[in-house]
């Protein structure tokens, strides 16, 4: 079975700062990795996904993530955050061989101060 861990429960930055939200997974085989954003009281919005190939994946709103097999990581980055980026960010994994079930991390609350 696969697991996903997000080591930072809270991250606080100022508008214009860069940010990295960390995600590590444990699974020995091939895996798909995604990031979702959840604004307060709303559903999850898809940000980006890694299938294969180029380990750096570009997403919406200036987000990108980099897959590292050696580190078992898929960290999310943004060069310059806006206050509207304040939300909960979830990393999720899906084993290629399975039925599409997503396993989520506990989420990281990002607060961006104006």
């Amino acid at each position: 079975t696969q697991t996903v861990s997000q080591s930072d429960a809270h991250v606080t930055v100022f508008e214009g700062d860069s940010v990295e939200l960390r995600c590590n997974y444990s699974y020995g085989g091939s895996i798909y990795l995604s990031w979702y954003i959840q604004h307060h009281g709303r559903g999850l919005q898809f940000l980006l996904k890694y299938y294969s190939g180029n380990p750096v994946v570009q997403g919406v709103n200036g987000f990108e993530a980099e897959f590292s097999k050696s580190d078992s990581s898929f960290h999310l980055r943004k060069a310059s955050v806006h206050w509207s980026d304040s939300a909960v960010y979830f990393c999720a994994a899906s084993i290629r061989a399975n039925t599409g079930k997503l396993t989520f991390g506990h989420g990281t609350i990002l607060r961006v101060h104006p």
Binding site: G43, L44, F46, G100, K101, T103, F104, G107
Partner: protein
């Protein structure tokens, strides 16, 4: 992005009663999912559904739970009877293929009293 709708947005129900949560998935999607999120906790997979059948379910998907999508209408999650521990936000998702991006609805907040 593609829109998944969920009805109702909130539901309050007495323990022991039946509840049906409705999901209107993206129109050409073939795979459907339910996830459960208890306040302040992570999202957890309940079940997925394809071609009229449950493909996989988790241990959270108790015997009191059932899913169906009759005649291509709403994808529903039925809980009968409900228990206090069923209080949570239930999210529906759909995808075109089973490894394609899943798009989520806004959730139904269920409170069992």
């Amino acid at each position: 992005g593609p829109k998944v709708l969920q009805i109702p947005s909130h539901q309050i129900i007495d323990m022991g009663q039946m509840v049906t949560l409705n999901c209107d998935p993206v129109s050409n999607h073939l795979y459907f999912y339910w996830y459960k999120q208890i306040l302040g906790q992570q999202m957890e997979f309940l079940v997925n559904f394809y071609n009229g059948k449950v493909m996989e379910k988790s241990k959270l998907f108790k015997d009191q739970f059932s899913v169906e999508r009759p005649d291509g209408s709403y994808f529903t999650l039925k809980i009968q009877p409900t228990a206090l521990e069923d209080s949570a936000v239930y999210f529906c998702a759909s995808s075109l293929g089973h490894q394609d991006t899943q798009y989520f609805g806004p959730g139904t907040r269920l409170l069992v009293l």
